[in-house]
């Protein structure tokens, strides 16, 4: 076990196979080892959690559990709440659905009762939990973060061990500030080369999922490395780590570097260390990258020089192809059997052999924890500037947080979107999962910058194609998918 040395310190009786203090360690191992609060007699690790992010959908039952058992939140100051999944993104003055309203009020009440800070509806810092974490400086290298949401892997972009948990585990963290964990495996994904113009971080991660499949990373923590990753901004790195779960991985991570430190140091991030404490922190963060010669359980290299924009055609994120491809034949998809592909094509209303660029869209969604940050909106705005959305296409642009909205409006992006014919909204998860009224109607086809193309995800019967913000914006204007690299 990776925590061997610590296990011996804490439990002298437990046999240790390796003394890892002298062995090269990966980024993951370094963070894991620093958070072993104990090893259970059965060998399970008690992993200490530095930050716990919560939202309205997966926490009320956990708080109720605490209340019923007379337990408290152990470290309320390490727990931060927001509302994102279920909130309206148009008219914020009233929540029409009484059940949604009750859920939002439940979170407010529980936060008050248990002393948890809440960035609720109407707060200038409200937003998608994985967007506000980094904005607030809650997301820091070397720490552990959990949240009752599978896209918690986003925070791994900072060299953070961050992963999604269920409601029972949310309750466990609230009560104990720890989680019982088995040690995951490590999986290094090296991206070599340089991205061509019009090809993005979204395409890098979709390509990987297409290669390893949606269960390819199950039980593993991915570490993304290589020149193509180093060249990415923090926001692009977040896009990659965000979709680690779509490859089945427990978490995805990128070693912190100057890009990371610059992001944390710039702007006002109330929870990040400041001044001297920041210098000290950076010195520590510089020790985190994987040591030379550190061993991984699996490794994979992807050359991005020839990478094309990616587009999903099916009902699983692994059903993905180059934009230049055609709808596949049911027998021609590695990793999926004929029946799976037939069902997916039937649901998506697609005929094998159709060029993907022939597919017309009814709806375009730009937003989500995958692609709802300021850089995503800027890149989409460049495409929309001076152009008009195709007739009959509905375009929703939903900033990931109220800070992003404010910043975008400060830069005039909202005007660009509105002039082109897009709807400009308040912050929330919105049509990524359609829990609020932002949903597709049956058989509507959507170019979406979100993360899941599951059946019914964006609305019952709705058909989702996952793409980058550039590809989504271009589809909005053309009325169908285009190869953004050659489109004018």
């Amino acid at each position: 076990m990776f925590s061997g040395a610590f296990a011996r310190d804490l439990h002298p009786g437990i046999p240790v196979r390796y003394d890892l203090r002298i062995m090269p360690k990966t980024l993951f191992q370094k963070i894991w080892d620093r958070h072993v609060a104990g090893v259970m007699p059965d060998g399970t690790t008690l992993l200490y959690i530095d930050r716990h992010l919560i939202h309205e959908v997966t926490s009320p039952q956990a708080f109720e559990g605490l209340r019923l058992s007379g337990r408290k939140v152990r470290r309320p100051e390490l727990t931060i709440a927001t509302m994102d999944h279920n909130v309206p993104t148009d008219d914020r003055s009233v929540i029409k659905d009484p059940i949604s309203k009750a859920q939002i009020e439940a979170l407010e009440n529980y936060c008050r009762e248990f002393g948890v800070t809440l960035y609720g509806l109407g707060h200038a810092r409200q937003g998608i939990v994985h967007i506000i974490g980094p904005e607030l400086g809650l997301t820091l290298p070397g720490t552990t973060i959990v949240c009752g949401d599978s896209h918690t892997s986003t925070h791994g972009a900072f060299g953070t061990l961050a992963f999604g948990i269920g409601t029972s585990e949310v309750e466990h963290v609230l009560a104990t500030q720890t989680l019982r964990q088995s040690t995951p495996g490590t999986f290094k994904v090296e991206y070599t080369g340089t991205l061509r113009p019009g090809v993005t971080a979204k395409d890098m991660i979709l390509k990987l999922i297409g290669m390893i499949g949606t269960a390819g990373g199950t039980g593993s923590v991915l570490e993304y490395t290589g020149a193509a990753v180093r060249a990415l901004s923090m926001e692009e790195r977040m896009t990659i780590c965000n979709m680690s779960i779509e490859g089945g991985a427990r978490a995805g991570m990128i070693a912190p570097d100057d890009t990371t430190f610059e992001y944390i140091s710039r702007d006002k991030r109330p929870f990040a260390p400041q001044g001297e404490a920041l210098d000290k922190a950076i010195a520590f963060w510089k020790t985190l990258p994987s040591d030379a010669g550190a061993a991984y359980d699996r490794e994979l290299t992807i050359d991005v020089n020839q990478l094309a924009p990616q587009i999903t055609w099916g009902t699983s994120p692994g059903m993905v192809a180059d934009v230049t491809a055609r709808v596949p034949d049911p027998d021609g998809v590695p990793g999926y059997n004929r029946t799976d592909v037939e069902k997916a094509l039937d649901y998506m209303g697609l005929t094998p052999g159709t060029p993907l660029t022939d597919l017309a869209v009814d709806t375009v969604f730009i937003g989500s924890c995958t692609n709802g940050r300021i850089e995503d909106l800027r890149r989409a705005a460049i495409v929309f500037a001076g152009r008009a959305v195709a007739k009959g296409v509905r375009v929703l642009v939903v900033p990931g947080s109220e800070q992003v909205r404010k910043q975008a409006e400060g830069e005039g992006l909202d005007k660009v979107f509105k002039r082109a014919g897009c709807e400009w909204r308040f912050a929330g998860c919105s049509m990524c999962l359609g829990m609020n009224p932002d949903q597709l109607k049956p058989q509507q086809r959507c170019a979406s910058t979100s993360n899941r193309n599951f059946e019914g995800r964006q609305g019952k019967g709705g058909r989702t194609h996952l793409v980058s913000p550039e590809m989504a914006a271009a589809a909005a204007i053309a009325g169908h998918f285009v190869d953004f690299r050659t489109w004018k």
């Binding site: 104990g38 530095d50 269920g166 199950t218 089945g248 699983s316 829990m435």
Partner: protein, 212 residues
């Protein structure tokens, strides 16, 4: 939590891979602030046709699978969202066991169940059993040939016994930690709180060292 020792019940099959938690329990049911009331909503968008009537083609609508307690599906069951509501729905619809195959791919073998889903199952006394693809194929075949097929899942012995004309016994492997939790119906939080002094001691050093 209800312990899982030995359970007998009807076996239902669902011939789909990558069954995601959005299908198991669609988003509109995530607005509830309770832990109950999800059973009826299990696979609701597959169960019902667009006009709201039951879809006779959906496997679990078959009368032979009524009151089933063991669900057999294909690889990567429970992928996607971390929503524990999915596990609540499976349990509240009457299932005590879900069986799926590990899958051999070009990149090695991939587990049968998505990570977070499998963790959530343990917390709710739902047993997940990983078998080989060949064993799951066999299960599908026996179920197809034997209407009303019942099976006994014995967790202590790690066996599934199919009560077919010729009984079949399939042995399965399970992580010993998960097995112990399920057999005893343990309350994780109470157990962890026994380590309170250790957590406090760790916290003291950790808080001083970890920039956050």
């Amino acid at each position: 939590m209800q312990p899982f020792v030995k359970e007998r019940g009807i076996v239902a099959t669902l011939d789909r891979a990558n069954v995601d938690t959005d299908q198991i329990i669609p988003k509109q049911f995530l607005k509830s602030i309770r832990r109950t009331g999800f059973g009826e909503a299990l696979f609701i968008d597959w169960k019902r046709r667009p006009d709201g009537t039951p879809d006779p083609d959906f496997a679990l609508n078959q009368p032979r699978f009524k009151d089933a307690r063991i669900l057999v599906a294909r690889n990567n069951f429970g992928c996607g969202s971390s929503r524990e509501h999915a596990v609540w729905a499976v349990v509240q619809a009457g299932f005590r066991t879900v069986i799926a195959p590990r899958k051999t791919t070009a990149n090695g073998e991939v587990p049968a169940f998505a990570d977070i889903f499998a963790n959530n199952c343990v917390k709710n006394g739902l047993l997940t059993i990983e078998l080989t693809e060949r064993e799951v194929d066999q299960l599908f075949a026996v179920v197809a040939a034997t209407p009303g097929l019942e099976a006994t899942v014995d967790l202590a012995a790690q066996t599934i016994t199919l009560h077919a004309a010729t009984p079949v016994v399939i042995r399965f492997e399970i992580d010993p930690v998960r097995k112990d939790h399920l057999l005893r119906g343990l309350d994780d939080i109470a157990m962890t709180l026994d380590y309170e002094p250790q957590i406090s001691a760790f916290e003291k050093t950790h808080d001083a060292q970890m920039p956050r």
